[in-house]
Protein backbone atom coordinates (compact mmCIF):
# COMPACT_ATOMS: atom_id res chain seq x y z
CA UNK A 1 0.00 0.00 0.00
CA UNK A 2 1.36 3.46 -0.84
CA UNK A 3 1.82 5.86 2.04
CA UNK A 4 -0.63 8.73 2.31
CA UNK A 5 0.80 12.26 2.26
CA UNK A 6 -0.30 12.46 5.87
CA UNK A 7 2.08 9.62 6.77
CA UNK A 8 4.79 10.69 4.33
CA UNK A 9 5.20 14.11 5.94
CA UNK A 10 5.20 12.94 9.54
CA UNK A 11 1.56 12.64 10.60
CA UNK A 12 -0.07 14.78 13.20
CA UNK A 13 3.01 16.67 14.41
CA UNK A 14 3.49 18.21 10.96
CA UNK A 15 -0.18 18.50 10.10
CA UNK A 16 -0.87 20.39 13.34
CA UNK A 17 1.66 23.05 12.32
CA UNK A 18 0.16 23.32 8.84
CA UNK A 19 -3.33 23.61 10.34
CA UNK A 20 -2.45 26.45 12.71
CA UNK A 21 -0.45 28.23 10.04
CA UNK A 22 -3.27 27.95 7.50
CA UNK A 23 -5.70 29.19 10.14
CA UNK A 24 -3.51 32.24 10.73
CA UNK A 25 -3.18 33.01 7.05
CA UNK A 26 -6.87 32.58 6.30
CA UNK A 27 -7.89 34.95 9.09
CA UNK A 28 -5.42 37.58 7.89
CA UNK A 29 -6.74 37.47 4.32
CA UNK A 30 -9.32 40.11 3.52
CA UNK A 31 -11.14 37.99 0.93
CA UNK A 32 -11.40 34.79 2.89
CA UNK A 33 -11.06 36.01 6.48
CA UNK A 34 -14.54 37.56 6.81
CA UNK A 35 -16.12 34.12 6.32
CA UNK A 36 -14.74 33.23 9.72
CA UNK A 37 -15.87 36.42 11.49
CA UNK A 38 -18.67 34.71 13.39
CA UNK A 39 -17.09 31.31 13.75
CA UNK A 40 -15.65 30.45 17.12
CA UNK A 41 -12.02 29.44 17.33
CA UNK A 42 -12.60 25.83 18.39
CA UNK A 43 -14.77 25.25 15.33
CA UNK A 44 -12.29 26.82 12.89
CA UNK A 45 -9.49 24.70 14.31
CA UNK A 46 -11.65 21.60 14.23
CA UNK A 47 -12.62 22.35 10.65
CA UNK A 48 -9.05 23.02 9.52
CA UNK A 49 -7.68 19.95 11.27
CA UNK A 50 -10.15 17.66 9.56
CA UNK A 51 -9.84 19.51 6.27
CA UNK A 52 -6.05 19.38 5.99
CA UNK A 53 -5.95 15.81 7.32
CA UNK A 54 -8.48 14.64 4.76
CA UNK A 55 -6.71 16.41 1.87
CA UNK A 56 -3.51 14.60 2.89
CA UNK A 57 -5.17 11.24 3.27
CA UNK A 58 -5.14 11.32 7.06
CA UNK A 59 -7.74 10.06 9.52
CA UNK A 60 -10.66 12.20 8.34
CA UNK A 61 -12.90 12.31 5.35
CA UNK A 62 -15.79 14.37 4.09
CA UNK A 63 -18.46 13.21 1.72
CA UNK A 64 -19.47 15.56 -1.07
CA UNK A 65 -22.82 15.86 0.62
CA UNK A 66 -21.27 17.01 3.91
CA UNK A 67 -19.11 19.60 2.13
CA UNK A 68 -22.12 20.93 0.27
CA UNK A 69 -24.20 21.24 3.44
CA UNK A 70 -21.42 22.93 5.43
CA UNK A 71 -21.08 25.67 2.84
CA UNK A 72 -24.73 25.98 1.87
CA UNK A 73 -25.42 29.11 3.93
CA UNK A 74 -22.30 30.91 2.64
CA UNK A 75 -22.14 32.88 -0.58
CA UNK A 76 -18.83 31.77 -1.99
CA UNK A 77 -17.71 32.86 -5.45
CA UNK A 78 -14.65 32.07 -7.54
CA UNK A 79 -13.21 35.34 -6.24
CA UNK A 80 -13.16 33.75 -2.78
CA UNK A 81 -12.20 30.28 -3.84
CA UNK A 82 -9.16 31.36 -5.88
CA UNK A 83 -7.30 33.16 -3.07
CA UNK A 84 -8.07 30.23 -0.77
CA UNK A 85 -6.45 28.02 -3.35
CA UNK A 86 -3.28 30.11 -3.47
CA UNK A 87 -3.08 30.50 0.32
CA UNK A 88 -3.31 26.76 0.71
CA UNK A 89 -0.64 26.16 -1.96
CA UNK A 90 1.65 28.65 -0.26
CA UNK A 91 1.15 27.12 3.17
CA UNK A 92 1.79 23.58 2.01
CA UNK A 93 4.88 24.64 0.06
CA UNK A 94 6.23 26.57 3.05
CA UNK A 95 5.86 23.45 5.16
CA UNK A 96 8.08 21.47 2.83
CA UNK A 97 5.63 19.53 0.65
CA UNK A 98 7.13 18.54 -2.71
CA UNK A 99 5.59 20.36 -5.71
CA UNK A 100 3.91 17.19 -7.01
CA UNK A 101 2.32 16.60 -3.59
CA UNK A 102 1.07 20.19 -3.44
CA UNK A 103 -0.41 19.59 -6.90
CA UNK A 104 -2.08 16.38 -5.73
CA UNK A 105 -3.73 18.20 -2.83
CA UNK A 106 -4.64 21.10 -5.12
CA UNK A 107 -6.32 18.70 -7.55
CA UNK A 108 -8.35 17.09 -4.74
CA UNK A 109 -9.37 20.56 -3.61
CA UNK A 110 -10.19 21.80 -7.10
CA UNK A 111 -12.37 18.75 -7.69
CA UNK A 112 -14.68 20.02 -4.96
CA UNK A 113 -14.96 23.60 -6.23
CA UNK A 114 -18.43 22.96 -7.62
CA UNK A 115 -19.70 21.93 -4.19
CA UNK A 116 -19.03 25.25 -2.48
CA UNK A 117 -18.94 27.90 -5.22
CA UNK A 118 -22.37 29.26 -6.07
Amino acid sequence: MTKSLFEKYGGFSVVSKIVLDLYDRLLDDDEVGPFFDDVEMARIVDHQTKFISSLMGGPASYTDDQIEKMHARLTITDAHFDPLESIRRETLTDHGLAPEDVEAVAAAFEARRGLVVE
Partner: protein
Protein backbone atom coordinates in the same frame (compact mmCIF):
# COMPACT_ATOMS: atom_id res chain seq x y z
CA UNK B 1 20.01 55.32 30.63
CA UNK B 2 19.17 54.86 34.30
CA UNK B 3 18.08 51.53 35.75
CA UNK B 4 14.61 52.99 36.43
CA UNK B 5 14.32 54.08 32.78
CA UNK B 6 15.43 50.66 31.54
CA UNK B 7 12.90 49.04 33.83
CA UNK B 8 10.14 51.21 32.48
CA UNK B 9 11.12 50.55 28.84
CA UNK B 10 11.20 46.86 29.59
CA UNK B 11 7.83 46.93 31.28
CA UNK B 12 6.28 48.73 28.31
CA UNK B 13 7.74 46.47 25.62
CA UNK B 14 7.42 43.10 27.32
CA UNK B 15 5.08 40.55 25.65
CA UNK B 16 3.06 40.25 28.82
CA UNK B 17 0.21 42.66 29.57
CA UNK B 18 0.85 44.54 32.81
CA UNK B 19 -1.45 46.98 34.62
CA UNK B 20 -1.57 48.57 38.06
CA UNK B 21 -4.90 49.20 39.78
CA UNK B 22 -5.84 51.18 42.84
CA UNK B 23 -7.07 48.51 45.20
CA UNK B 24 -9.78 50.65 46.85
CA UNK B 25 -11.32 52.13 43.73
CA UNK B 26 -10.20 49.51 41.17
CA UNK B 27 -9.26 52.27 38.80
CA UNK B 28 -6.35 51.96 36.41
CA UNK B 29 -3.09 53.63 37.37
CA UNK B 30 -0.85 52.29 34.67
CA UNK B 31 -0.82 49.80 31.78
CA UNK B 32 1.88 48.81 29.31
CA UNK B 33 1.80 48.69 25.48
CA UNK B 34 0.94 45.01 25.26
CA UNK B 35 -2.05 45.52 27.56
CA UNK B 36 -3.27 48.33 25.31
CA UNK B 37 -2.70 46.28 22.19
CA UNK B 38 -4.99 43.57 23.55
CA UNK B 39 -7.65 45.56 25.32
CA UNK B 40 -7.77 48.68 23.16
CA UNK B 41 -7.07 52.34 23.88
CA UNK B 42 -7.37 52.57 27.64
CA UNK B 43 -6.99 55.66 29.72
CA UNK B 44 -5.52 55.91 33.16
CA UNK B 45 -8.32 56.33 35.70
CA UNK B 46 -10.78 53.98 33.98
CA UNK B 47 -12.65 51.53 36.20
CA UNK B 48 -12.00 47.81 35.90
CA UNK B 49 -15.67 47.11 35.24
CA UNK B 50 -15.56 49.43 32.20
CA UNK B 51 -12.63 47.50 30.79
CA UNK B 52 -14.09 44.05 31.29
CA UNK B 53 -17.84 43.84 31.32
CA UNK B 54 -19.25 41.13 33.52
CA UNK B 55 -16.15 41.06 35.69
CA UNK B 56 -16.77 39.61 39.17
CA UNK B 57 -15.51 42.55 41.23
CA UNK B 58 -16.71 41.12 44.55
CA UNK B 59 -14.79 37.87 44.08
CA UNK B 60 -11.68 39.85 43.15
CA UNK B 61 -11.90 42.09 46.22
CA UNK B 62 -12.52 39.17 48.54
CA UNK B 63 -9.58 37.20 47.16
CA UNK B 64 -7.19 40.15 47.23
CA UNK B 65 -8.17 41.02 50.80
CA UNK B 66 -7.76 37.38 51.75
CA UNK B 67 -4.81 35.52 50.26
CA UNK B 68 -3.88 38.51 48.10
CA UNK B 69 -4.15 36.72 44.73
CA UNK B 70 -6.89 36.26 42.15
CA UNK B 71 -6.77 34.57 38.74
CA UNK B 72 -9.30 34.43 35.93
CA UNK B 73 -9.54 34.20 32.14
CA UNK B 74 -11.14 36.44 29.57
CA UNK B 75 -12.01 35.69 25.96
CA UNK B 76 -12.69 38.22 23.20
CA UNK B 77 -12.26 38.71 19.46
CA UNK B 78 -9.32 40.63 18.10
CA UNK B 79 -8.73 40.90 14.33
CA UNK B 80 -11.01 37.87 13.67
CA UNK B 81 -9.09 35.79 16.17
CA UNK B 82 -10.41 34.52 19.43
CA UNK B 83 -8.07 35.79 22.12
CA UNK B 84 -7.91 34.10 25.47
CA UNK B 85 -6.01 35.97 28.16
CA UNK B 86 -5.11 34.57 31.57
CA UNK B 87 -5.26 37.33 34.19
CA UNK B 88 -3.46 37.21 37.55
CA UNK B 89 -4.09 39.95 40.17
CA UNK B 90 -1.62 40.31 43.04
CA UNK B 91 -1.95 42.63 46.01
CA UNK B 92 1.04 44.96 46.51
CA UNK B 93 2.01 48.20 48.19
CA UNK B 94 2.99 51.37 46.38
CA UNK B 95 4.40 53.38 49.24
CA UNK B 96 1.52 53.36 51.70
CA UNK B 97 -1.16 52.74 49.15
CA UNK B 98 -2.61 49.29 48.46
CA UNK B 99 -2.54 48.44 44.77
CA UNK B 100 -3.21 45.40 42.61
CA UNK B 101 -0.70 44.28 39.99
CA UNK B 102 -2.46 42.70 37.03
CA UNK B 103 -0.36 40.43 34.83
CA UNK B 104 -1.97 39.14 31.61
CA UNK B 105 -0.65 36.26 29.51
CA UNK B 106 -1.85 35.42 26.04
CA UNK B 107 -2.89 31.76 26.18
CA UNK B 108 -4.76 31.77 22.84
CA UNK B 109 -2.21 29.47 21.24
CA UNK B 110 -2.59 26.95 24.05
CA UNK B 111 -6.37 27.07 23.62
CA UNK B 112 -5.98 26.58 19.86
CA UNK B 113 -3.71 23.61 20.41
CA UNK B 114 -6.17 22.16 22.91
CA UNK B 115 -8.96 22.51 20.35
CA UNK B 116 -6.81 20.91 17.71
CA UNK B 117 -5.90 17.96 19.92
CA UNK B 118 -9.59 17.56 20.85
CA UNK B 119 -10.59 17.59 17.21
CA UNK B 120 -7.82 15.22 16.26
CA UNK B 121 -8.43 12.77 19.08
CA UNK B 122 -12.11 12.62 18.18
CA UNK B 123 -11.16 11.74 14.61
CA UNK B 124 -8.72 9.10 15.77
CA UNK B 125 -11.18 7.65 18.26
CA UNK B 126 -13.87 7.43 15.61
CA UNK B 127 -11.47 5.74 13.20
CA UNK B 128 -10.32 3.35 15.91
CA UNK B 129 -13.93 2.39 16.59
CA UNK B 130 -14.52 1.80 12.88
CA UNK B 131 -11.40 -0.33 12.57
CA UNK B 132 -12.40 -2.33 15.63
CA UNK B 133 -15.85 -2.93 14.20
CA UNK B 134 -14.41 -4.04 10.87
CA UNK B 135 -11.94 -6.31 12.62
CA UNK B 136 -14.74 -7.93 14.57
CA UNK B 137 -16.68 -8.51 11.36
CA UNK B 138 -13.67 -10.13 9.69
CA UNK B 139 -13.06 -12.25 12.76
CA UNK B 140 -16.67 -13.35 12.83
CA UNK B 141 -16.49 -14.29 9.17
CA UNK B 142 -13.27 -16.25 9.63
CA UNK B 143 -14.64 -18.03 12.70
CA UNK B 144 -17.49 -19.20 10.50
CA UNK B 145 -14.91 -20.75 8.22
CA UNK B 146 -12.53 -22.35 10.72
CA UNK B 147 -12.29 -23.40 14.37
CA UNK B 148 -11.08 -20.76 16.82
CA UNK B 149 -7.75 -22.48 17.53
CA UNK B 150 -7.02 -22.63 13.79
CA UNK B 151 -8.03 -18.98 13.44
CA UNK B 152 -5.66 -18.04 16.29
CA UNK B 153 -2.83 -19.90 14.56
CA UNK B 154 -3.67 -18.20 11.27
CA UNK B 155 -3.77 -14.77 12.95
CA UNK B 156 -0.46 -15.26 14.76
CA UNK B 157 1.63 -16.96 12.08
CA UNK B 158 -0.22 -16.06 8.86
CA UNK B 159 -0.38 -19.75 7.90
CA UNK B 160 -2.05 -22.89 9.20
CA UNK B 161 -0.01 -26.05 9.38
CA UNK B 162 -1.97 -29.00 7.91
CA UNK B 163 -2.58 -31.46 10.72
CA UNK B 164 -3.64 -35.06 10.99
CA UNK B 165 -6.45 -35.66 13.45
CA UNK B 166 -6.81 -39.31 14.39
CA UNK B 167 -9.30 -40.53 15.33
CA UNK B 168 -12.27 -38.24 14.84
CA UNK B 169 -15.88 -38.96 13.90
CA UNK B 170 -17.42 -37.38 10.80
CA UNK B 171 -21.17 -36.97 10.30
CA UNK B 172 -22.40 -36.66 6.68
CA UNK B 173 -26.04 -35.83 6.11
CA UNK B 174 -28.08 -35.11 2.99
CA UNK B 175 -31.75 -34.94 2.04
CA UNK B 176 -33.62 -37.46 -0.06
CA UNK B 177 -35.32 -35.92 -3.07
CA UNK B 178 -33.58 -32.59 -2.63
CA UNK B 179 -33.30 -31.88 -6.38
CA UNK B 180 -37.07 -32.35 -6.80
CA UNK B 181 -37.77 -30.17 -3.76
CA UNK B 182 -35.69 -27.35 -5.21
CA UNK B 183 -37.68 -27.29 -8.44
CA UNK B 184 -41.04 -27.79 -6.71
CA UNK B 185 -40.75 -24.79 -4.38
CA UNK B 186 -39.85 -21.15 -4.60
CA UNK B 187 -36.03 -20.74 -4.22
CA UNK B 188 -36.54 -18.28 -1.36
CA UNK B 189 -38.60 -20.81 0.55
CA UNK B 190 -36.02 -23.59 0.13
CA UNK B 191 -33.16 -21.33 1.23
CA UNK B 192 -35.12 -20.11 4.23
CA UNK B 193 -35.97 -23.71 5.23
CA UNK B 194 -32.34 -24.80 4.85
CA UNK B 195 -31.20 -21.82 6.91
CA UNK B 196 -33.62 -22.82 9.58
CA UNK B 197 -32.53 -26.46 9.60
CA UNK B 198 -28.79 -25.80 9.40
CA UNK B 199 -29.03 -23.25 12.19
CA UNK B 200 -30.71 -25.87 14.35
CA UNK B 201 -28.06 -28.46 13.36
CA UNK B 202 -25.29 -25.98 14.22
CA UNK B 203 -26.84 -25.39 17.62
CA UNK B 204 -27.17 -29.12 18.29
CA UNK B 205 -23.62 -29.70 17.02
CA UNK B 206 -22.28 -27.00 19.29
CA UNK B 207 -24.05 -28.52 22.27
CA UNK B 208 -22.72 -32.03 21.62
CA UNK B 209 -19.25 -31.18 20.33
CA UNK B 210 -19.76 -31.89 16.64
CA UNK B 211 -18.90 -28.72 14.72
CA UNK B 212 -20.06 -28.07 11.19
CA UNK B 213 -17.18 -28.05 8.71
CA UNK B 214 -19.11 -27.63 5.51
CA UNK B 215 -22.62 -27.21 4.17
CA UNK B 216 -22.90 -27.36 0.38
CA UNK B 217 -26.46 -27.42 -0.89
CA UNK B 218 -28.13 -30.29 0.92
CA UNK B 219 -24.87 -31.87 2.14
CA UNK B 220 -24.05 -31.09 5.75
CA UNK B 221 -20.76 -32.30 7.27
CA UNK B 222 -19.84 -32.07 10.95
CA UNK B 223 -16.78 -33.36 12.79
CA UNK B 224 -16.37 -34.39 16.43
CA UNK B 225 -12.94 -34.72 18.07
CA UNK B 226 -11.10 -31.81 16.48
CA UNK B 227 -9.26 -29.50 16.74
CA UNK B 228 -8.92 -30.71 20.33
CA UNK B 229 -8.89 -34.51 20.49
CA UNK B 230 -11.62 -36.05 22.64
CA UNK B 231 -12.07 -39.60 23.88
CA UNK B 232 -15.80 -39.57 23.24
CA UNK B 233 -15.76 -38.22 19.67
CA UNK B 234 -17.87 -41.19 18.39
CA UNK B 235 -20.40 -40.60 21.11
CA UNK B 236 -20.51 -36.86 20.35
CA UNK B 237 -21.12 -37.47 16.64
CA UNK B 238 -23.84 -40.06 17.34
CA UNK B 239 -25.45 -37.81 19.96
CA UNK B 240 -25.63 -34.98 17.44
CA UNK B 241 -26.87 -37.23 14.61
CA UNK B 242 -29.79 -38.74 16.53
CA UNK B 243 -30.86 -35.25 17.54
CA UNK B 244 -30.64 -34.04 13.92
CA UNK B 245 -33.20 -36.77 13.10
CA UNK B 246 -35.35 -36.02 16.08
CA UNK B 247 -35.36 -32.32 15.24
CA UNK B 248 -36.41 -33.02 11.64
CA UNK B 249 -39.22 -35.37 12.77
CA UNK B 250 -40.59 -32.74 15.13
CA UNK B 251 -40.24 -30.05 12.49
CA UNK B 252 -41.98 -32.16 9.80
CA UNK B 253 -44.93 -32.64 12.13
CA UNK B 254 -45.65 -28.90 12.14
CA UNK B 255 -44.35 -27.72 8.74
CA UNK B 256 -45.84 -28.21 5.26
CA UNK B 257 -42.51 -29.08 3.58
CA UNK B 258 -41.21 -32.49 4.67
CA UNK B 259 -37.47 -33.04 4.99
CA UNK B 260 -36.18 -36.60 4.92
CA UNK B 261 -32.51 -37.14 5.52
CA UNK B 262 -30.00 -39.96 5.59
CA UNK B 263 -26.90 -39.95 7.73
CA UNK B 264 -23.51 -41.63 7.54
CA UNK B 265 -21.06 -41.53 10.45
CA UNK B 266 -17.50 -42.81 10.23
CA UNK B 267 -14.70 -42.83 12.77
CA UNK B 268 -11.17 -42.54 11.41
CA UNK B 269 -8.42 -40.06 10.54
CA UNK B 270 -8.79 -36.72 8.73
CA UNK B 271 -6.50 -33.88 7.72
CA UNK B 272 -7.53 -30.35 8.63
CA UNK B 273 -5.98 -27.41 6.80
CA UNK B 274 -6.55 -24.07 5.19
CA UNK B 275 -6.59 -24.70 1.47
CA UNK B 276 -6.01 -22.00 -1.11
CA UNK B 277 -3.99 -18.80 -1.11
CA UNK B 278 -6.24 -16.00 -2.36
CA UNK B 279 -9.57 -17.71 -1.79
CA UNK B 280 -8.79 -19.82 1.19
CA UNK B 281 -11.08 -22.12 3.01
CA UNK B 282 -10.60 -24.32 6.03
CA UNK B 283 -11.23 -27.86 4.90
CA UNK B 284 -11.27 -31.30 6.44
CA UNK B 285 -10.64 -34.31 4.23
CA UNK B 286 -9.41 -37.89 4.46
CA UNK B 287 -10.74 -41.40 5.08
CA UNK B 288 -13.32 -40.51 7.74
CA UNK B 289 -14.92 -37.90 5.46
CA UNK B 290 -14.97 -40.19 2.41
CA UNK B 291 -16.33 -43.10 4.47
CA UNK B 292 -19.05 -41.05 6.16
CA UNK B 293 -20.06 -39.71 2.76
CA UNK B 294 -20.30 -43.24 1.30
CA UNK B 295 -22.05 -44.63 4.38
CA UNK B 296 -24.94 -42.23 3.95
CA UNK B 297 -25.85 -43.87 0.60
CA UNK B 298 -26.51 -47.05 2.58
CA UNK B 299 -28.82 -45.35 5.05
CA UNK B 300 -32.58 -45.49 4.50
CA UNK B 301 -34.85 -42.47 5.03
CA UNK B 302 -34.28 -40.94 8.48
CA UNK B 303 -31.66 -43.58 9.28
CA UNK B 304 -28.07 -43.43 10.56
CA UNK B 305 -25.41 -45.85 9.30
CA UNK B 306 -21.94 -46.10 10.80
CA UNK B 307 -18.72 -48.09 10.36
CA UNK B 308 -17.20 -50.52 12.86
CA UNK B 309 -14.60 -48.09 14.17
CA UNK B 310 -17.49 -45.90 15.23
CA UNK B 311 -19.84 -48.39 16.83
CA UNK B 312 -16.97 -49.91 18.84
CA UNK B 313 -16.77 -46.62 20.68
CA UNK B 314 -20.49 -46.13 21.35
CA UNK B 315 -21.96 -46.81 24.78
CA UNK B 316 -25.00 -48.93 25.72
CA UNK B 317 -27.42 -46.16 24.98
CA UNK B 318 -27.01 -47.02 21.30
CA UNK B 319 -28.15 -50.11 19.49
CA UNK B 320 -26.12 -51.01 16.40
CA UNK B 321 -27.73 -53.55 14.05
CA UNK B 322 -25.66 -55.14 11.25
CA UNK B 323 -26.76 -53.60 7.97
CA UNK B 324 -24.82 -55.45 5.30
CA UNK B 325 -21.45 -54.66 3.81
CA UNK B 326 -20.00 -52.05 1.49
CA UNK B 327 -16.67 -51.07 -0.11
CA UNK B 328 -15.86 -47.93 1.84
CA UNK B 329 -12.27 -48.30 0.64
CA UNK B 330 -11.64 -49.62 -2.87
CA UNK B 331 -11.43 -53.40 -2.94
CA UNK B 332 -12.18 -53.94 0.75
CA UNK B 333 -15.61 -54.81 2.07
CA UNK B 334 -16.56 -53.57 5.50
CA UNK B 335 -19.47 -54.21 7.84
CA UNK B 336 -22.11 -51.51 8.13
CA UNK B 337 -24.32 -50.86 11.14
CA UNK B 338 -27.63 -49.09 11.47
CA UNK B 339 -27.54 -47.02 14.64
CA UNK B 340 -30.49 -46.29 16.85
CA UNK B 341 -30.88 -44.72 20.25
CA UNK B 342 -33.56 -43.85 22.67
CA UNK B 343 -33.13 -40.17 23.40
CA UNK B 344 -34.79 -39.22 26.65
CA UNK B 345 -36.78 -36.00 26.23
CA UNK B 346 -34.90 -34.35 29.08
CA UNK B 347 -31.60 -34.69 27.19
CA UNK B 348 -33.00 -33.22 24.05
CA UNK B 349 -32.24 -29.71 22.88
Amino acid sequence: MSIAAINEQLLRAIGVGVALLDLDTLRLRFCNDTFREWFGEIEVGQHLIDLFSGFDVEALKEALNGEGRYTTETTFRLRRRTMTIAMAFNRALDGDEAIAVLVCQNISRIKELESMIDSYSMMVERNTREIKREKEQVEKLLLNMMPRSVYEEYKTFGIVTPRLYDPVAVVCLDFIGFAEMVTAHDPGVIVSELNDIYTAFDRIGEQFGCARIRAVGDLYIGVAGMPDPTEDHAQSAANAAVRFLRYLKQRNATHPIQWTCRVGIAAGPVVGSVVGVQKYIYDVFGPAVVHASRLRYHAGPMQIVGNRALIDRLDDQYVARPSGQAELTEGRKEDLFAIEAEVPAAQDT
